[in-house]
Amino acid sequence: MKFGVVVFPGSNCDHDMYHALKILAGNEVQFIWHQDTSLAGFDGVVLPGGFSYGDYLRAGAIARFSPILQEIIRFAKKGKIVLGICNGFQVLTESGLLPGALMRNQNLRFICKHVYIRTENNQTVFTKGLKSGQILRIPIAHGEGKYYIDDHNLKKLDEHRQIVFRYCSPDGQLRDEYNPNGSKASIAGVINKEGNVLGMMPHPERAIELLLGSADGRYLLESMIG
C-alpha cells in the first residue's frame, strides 16, 4: 500500500502524519503538493490537519478548489482510500465528499486536549482492527470542529452506519460534558456511504507513541494501512 499526504500552503500536521505512517508500516509514504494533478500509484491519500490557505473565508473552503482536490474527488469515486483529519475533514465536507459541515466550537475557542471517542462502526476499512464500542483516547486540536447535519440527514447517516466515532466519557457514555465542541449527536467522525472516505476531527497521528501520552491512534492507522 502506498499513501500520499497532501500538503496545502498552511498544512501543519503533514509532517506528523508522514512520521506516523513511516513508523507504523515503514510503508511507502510520500508528500503530495497541492498543485499536483496526478495520484497515479497511490492506494490511499491523507488530508492532514492545519490551516490550508490560512482557513480564510471558512476552514477548508479554499482548499476544495485546489488542483489536487479535483483529482482526489476522482480518486475517491474510484473507491480508493481517503482519510481527512481535522482540517482535512473540513476540506472533505466542503468538497461534498462527506455530508454535514463543521462550525466554530460551541465555546468559540480553540480547544487542544485529549478526548475519548467511541467506535460506533468497526466494519470499515479504517476501523476493522478495533472492537465495536472500543474507546480511544486521542487528542483534538481545532477551532471549528462542531459537526452539524440536519435531522433528516442525521437519520440517514445513522441508517447507513456512517457515524464512525462519537465523543464520550472515559467509560463510553455519551454526555454533553464529554462533547468538547458541541457536535451534533456527539459525532467525531463520519464515513461516506461507499465506505472509503473517512473524516474525523481527532488526530490519530498524534496518538501513536506512549511517550507523547497515548498510542490509541495506532489501531486506526494500522487498520487503514492493512
Partner: protein
C-alpha cells in the same frame, strides 16, 4: 515631493535628545534629512539600541558552555545539543502593543520572535510565553487576558508551532501595563545556519513576504516611552499579524537557507527596512543601495520615511548570492510570496536610499547600530528607600492562623496558583508530535526526533521577589528556572531573558535593574548557563504605577536519554514522598502573605547558589539512576500547595497522600506555605529507599521523609484533610469560573 525641514525641535519630537541630535549632525557633517532623522530616531530608540541597558547586560556571562553563537552576535543564540544539532532560542516582549490592542499585540509578539528564530535557519519547534495581568475581578483585565491568550493561540496554532509552556501571574501592579513576553525555540543542523549579514559587491537585496503598509510606524519608539492617557491613540502603531503568510515565509526561508543560495537574511521586526538594512550592512562592514520605489507597498502615496519605518509584519530582507536570483524567486513563487529585488550590496560602507530618483538618505550603517555608533549610557542609580522598610517587616506581629484548612483554601484558590488549563487548552501544544511533557508541569519536554534526546524548556520570573530584593530576586529567577528543568530530568544549558522594568531615567528604577541583572549573572555563572540573548523592555509604567521589576528567564535544558524524562505528579499508591532541601519557614513575598494578610512585604527567601547547584546535580543523578517516580519543585504557595499539586496534576488519575511534618519550633502555617528556595518534592518506590537515602547522605544533601502516596484524601498532620477530588475540581475550575461567567 517635499520633506519637512529637520530641526532640533522635530528631533525631540522623535524621542531624541539634544546631545543625540548633535551626534547625528557630527556623524553626517550636516543636518539630517527627514528620512534620516526617522532612521536615527528608531535605531537609537531604547528598543533597538539598548542604550541604557547594554552596559549592564555586558556584565552577564555571554559565552562558554555549549554556546555556538553568543548573545548579540546574531538574532538569537545557538546552543549545541550534540548529534550535529543546535538549539536556537530567544524571548522578547510585546508589552505596550498588548496594553492597547491585546489580540494583535500578542499575536505579532509571537510572530516576531518566530522570525528571529527561523531567520537563523532553525525550524521553530516550541513556543513559550510569560504573561502578567492585573487581577481578574476587573473587566478590563479580563479583556486583556482573553485577548492576549487568543492572540497567542491564533498565531501559534495557525503556524503549527506548539505552545508548550509558560507562566501567568495576576497582580495589581500589572493592571495598566500587562506584560506579554513570547519565546521561541528552534532546532537547526550545525551546517545549516544562516547569518544576518550583507556582504559582496552587487549581491542582490530582496524584500520578501508581505507588502509594506503604514502599520506600526514608530512601534519601536512607542515601546520606548511610558504608557499614558495618550497611549490609546497609539493603537495605529500596533502592527497586524497574518500567521498564514508567516507560515509560507517560514517554509520559503528555510528552503533558501537549506539550498545555500543566500548570503544573509534578517527579519523585519522593529524599525522594519531601516533596522534590517543598517544592521546587516554594519555586520558585513558594507553598504547598500536601496530603491524604495521597488518595495511592494499596500497603499499609494507612501513617503520614503513611512516605507523605511513601517513595521508591517511577515517580511524578510534577503541578500542573495549572485547567480541565484532566479532560484530565490522560484522558491518565493512556490510559496506564493511576493519577492522583489530592492537594491544591492556595496563594498563601500554607506547606506544610500533612493526614492523617485532622489537620494533621501545617505548614512554610515555602523554609526546607527548597537555595538557601533549608537549611544551608550551609564545611568544613575540609587537604592530605593522602600527596600529597607519592606525587608524589615516584622512577621511575628502577624496574627496567627486559626484554621489552617481555611488558609490553605484561600491560597489554593488564588488564580496565581490555580491550573492554567483554560489557557493552554486554547494553544495547540501537541502539533509536530514531540511534546512529551505538556503545559502544566514543571517544564515542558520536547523530544528530538531521530535522536534519543529531548529538551526541557521553561519560562520563569517572580516579580515580587525582585521587588523585595532585586539582587537575590534575580538569582532566584535563574535558580528556579534551572530547578524546573532539572525536575524533568534535564541538565540546564543556557538562558535567554526578557527584562521588564520601569523608566531607566529614574535612579531608583535603574538600581533595581542593575541589581537584578547582577543577580542573574551570579546565578548563571554558578550554574554555567550562559545568556544567549534576550530583550529589555523599559518604561513599563503608567500614570498610576510601575510594574514590579520583572526579569523573565527562558531556560533550556537537555535530557540526554528520553528514559530519564520525569513528571511532577505522584504515580503509585505506596510510593514514598521526600523533601529535598531545607524548608526555612520563609514567608516574605509569598502567596500566603498576599492572599491571607493582603501584604507584599518582607525579604525574599534566602538562596545559596552553590547549595542549589548541589541539590540540582544530586536530583539529576538520582533520576538517572532510575529511582525517581516524580519530582516537583516547591514555589508559589509553598510545601502544602506543591504537595497538593502532585496529587492532582495528572487530571485523569488523581491520587491522595498522607504527610507527617515534624514538630518545628515555628508556626505551622509558616511551615506549610514557606517559599524557601532549593526545595524539591520527590516520590520513589519503596524498593529504592535505602539506596536513595544513602546517596543523599553521601552527597551531603538534606533529604527528609514526609509520608506516603495513596488514598483519596490529602492529609498533612492534623492540619489538613481534604478529599482529593475537591482539590482537583477547585484547581481546574478557578480560572474558567472567572472568565466564562
Amino acid at each position: 515631493m517635499k520633506e519637512p525641514e529637520v530641526s532640533l525641535e522635530l528631533a525631540i519630537q522623535h524621542g531624541l535628545n539634544e546631545e543625540e541630535y548633535q551626534r547625528i549632525q557630527n556623524l553626517l557633517g550636516r543636518n539630517p534629512t527627514f528620512t534620516e532623522l526617522g532612521i536615527f530616531s528608531v535605531m537609537w530608540s531604547e528598543h533597538c539600541s539598548y542604550k541604557n541597558s547594554i552596559a549592564e547586560l555586558k556584565k552577564l556571562p555571554r559565552s562558554g558552555g555549549r554556546l555556538l553563537v553568543g548573545a548579540g552576535e546574531e538574532n538569537a543564540g545557538l546552543v549545541d545539543i550534540g548529534d550535529g544539532l543546535a538549539v536556537c532560542f530567544k524571548i522578547e516582549s510585546h508589552n505596550h502593543p498588548s496594553a492597547v490592542e491585546p489580540y494583535q499585540g500578542a499575536a505579532t509578539g509571537v510572530g516576531g520572535i518566530m522570525r528571529d528564530i527561523f531567520t537563523m535557519g532553525a525550524r521553530p519547534i516550541a513556543a513559550l510565553n510569560s504573561l502578567r495581568f492585573g487581577q481578574l475581578d476587573k473587566s478590563r483585565n479580563r479583556y486583556l487576558f482573553d485577548g492576549v491568550v487568543r492572540g497567542i493561540a491564533d498565531y501559534g496554532n495557525c503556524l503549527g508551532i506548539p505552545t508548550v509552556a509558560g507562566e501567568i501571574y495576576f497582580e495589581d501592579c500589572y493592571s495598566a501595563n500587562p506584560l506579554v513576553n513570547a519565546m521561541t525555540v528552534g532546532i537547526v543542523k550545525h551546517d545549516q545556519t544562516a547569518s544576518a549579514i550583507a556582504q559582496g559587491q552587487d549581491c542582490p537585496v530582496f524584500v520578501i513576504g508581505s507588502r509594506t503598509g503604514r502599520d506600526g510606524i514608530h512601534g519601536a519608539t512607542f515601546a520606548s516611552e511610558e504608557l499614558s492617557e495618550e497611549s490609546e491613540h497609539r493603537r495605529p502603531n500596533v502592527q497586524v499579524g497574518d500567521p498564514f503568510t508567516e507560515k509560507l515565509l517560514l517554509e520559503a526561508t528555510l528552503e533558501m537557507i537549506r539550498e545555500k543560495i543566500i548570503v544573509g537574511i534578517q527579519d523585519m521586526g522593529a524599525a522594519g527596512i531601516t533596522c534590517s538594512t543598517t544592521e546587516m550592512s554594519a555586520k558585513g562592514n558594507s553598504g547598500m543601495v536601496i530603491d524604495l520605489d521597488k518595495v511592494p507597498v499596500r497603499e499609494e502615496g507612501m513617503t520614503p520615511y513611512e516605507i523605511m519605518l513601517s513595521e508591517s509584519q511577515e517580511r524578510m530582507l534577503v541578500v542573495g548570492k549572485i547567480g541565484n536570483e532566479k532560484r530565490i524567486r522560484e522558491i518565493c513563487e512556490k510559496w506564493e510570496l511576493i519577492c522583489e529585488q530592492v537594491g544591492h550590496v556595496t563594498d563601500e560602507p554607506t547606506l544610500k536610499v533612493f526614492f523617485q530618483n532622489e537620494k533621501v538618505a545617505e548614512i554610515p550603517p555602523f554609526d546607527c547600530v548597537l555595538g557601533g555608533g549608537a549611544p551608550v549610557y551609564q545611568r544613575e542609580f540609587a537604592r530605593p528607600a522602600y527596600l529597607d522598610i519592606l525587608q524589615n517587616f516584622d512577621f511575628d506581629k502577624l496574627e496567627a492562623v486559626e484554621d489552617l484548612q481555611d488558609a490553605f483554601w484561600k491560597i489554593f484558590s488564588s488564580p496565581n496558583i490555580a491550573s492554567k488549563e483554560w489557557v493552554y487548552e486554547q494553544y495547540d501544544h501537541m502539533v509536530r508530535t514531540n511534546t512529551s511533557i505538556f503545559p502544566g508541569g514543571d517544564a515542558a519536554v520536547i523530544r528530538i526526533k531521530k535522536t534519543n534526546k529531548a529538551i526541557s524548556v521553561k519560562t520563569d520570573g517572580n516579580g515580587r521577589f525582585v521587588y523585595l530584593n532585586p539582587r537575590r530576586g534575580g538569582q532566584i529567577a535563574v535558580a528556579e528556572a534551572a530547578r524546573n528543568v532539572v525536575c524533568t530530568g534535564a541538565i540546564p544549558l543556557a538562558i535567554t531573558n526578557c527584562l521588564n522594568f520601569g523608566n531607566p531615567y529614574k535612579p531608583e528604577m535603574f538600581y533595581l535593574f542593575r541589581e537584578a541583572v547582577a543577580g542573574m549573572g551570579d546565578a548563571c555563572r554558578v550554574f554555567e548557563t550562559p545568556v544567549t540573548g534576550g530583550n529589555v523592555s523599559f518604561y513599563n509604567e503608567s500614570p498610576e504605577s510601575a510594574v514590579y521589576p520583572t526579569p523573565v528567564i527562558g531556560m533550556l535544558g537537555l535530557i540526554e536519554d528520553i528514559s530519564h524524562i520525569t513528571t511532577a505528579f505522584f504515580k503509585k499508591s505506596g510510593d514514598l514522598i521526600y523533601l529535598i532541601g531545607k524548608n526555612q519557614n520563609e514567608i516574605g513575598g509569598s502567596e500566603f502573605l498576599k492572599e491571607f494578610y493582603g501584604k507584599i512585604a518582607g525579604d525574599c527567601p534566602q538562596l545559596d547558589l552553590e547549595y542549589e547547584k548541589l541539590i540540582q546535580n544530586t536530583l539529576l543523578e538520582a533520576i538517572r539512576k532510575g529511582w525517581v517516580s516524580s519530582a516537583h519543585d516547591i514555589s508559589d504557595g509553598g510545601l502544602a500547595v506543591a504537595l497538593a499539586e502532585c496529587c492532582i496534576m495528572n487530571k485523569i488519575n488523581p491520587i491522595g497522600a498522607t504527610i507527617k511534618l515534624p514538630d518545628a519550633n515555628t508556626r505551622p502555617e509558616w511551615q506549610l506555605f514557606s517559599e524557601s528556595q532549593s526545595c524539591i518534592l520527590i516520590s520513589i518506590s519503596p524498593d529504592f529507599r535505602k539506596s536513595l537515602e544513602q546517596f543523599f547522605i553521601k552527597q551531603k544533601v538534606k533529604l527528609q521523609y514526609l509520608g506516603k502516596v495513596g488514598g483519596s484524601h490529602f492529609i498533612i498532620n492534623d492540619w489538613l484533610d481534604i478529599v482529593v477530588n475537591d482539590l482537583l475540581r477547585n484547581y481546574y475550575q478557578i480560572i474558567p469560573d472567572q472568565m466564562e461567567t
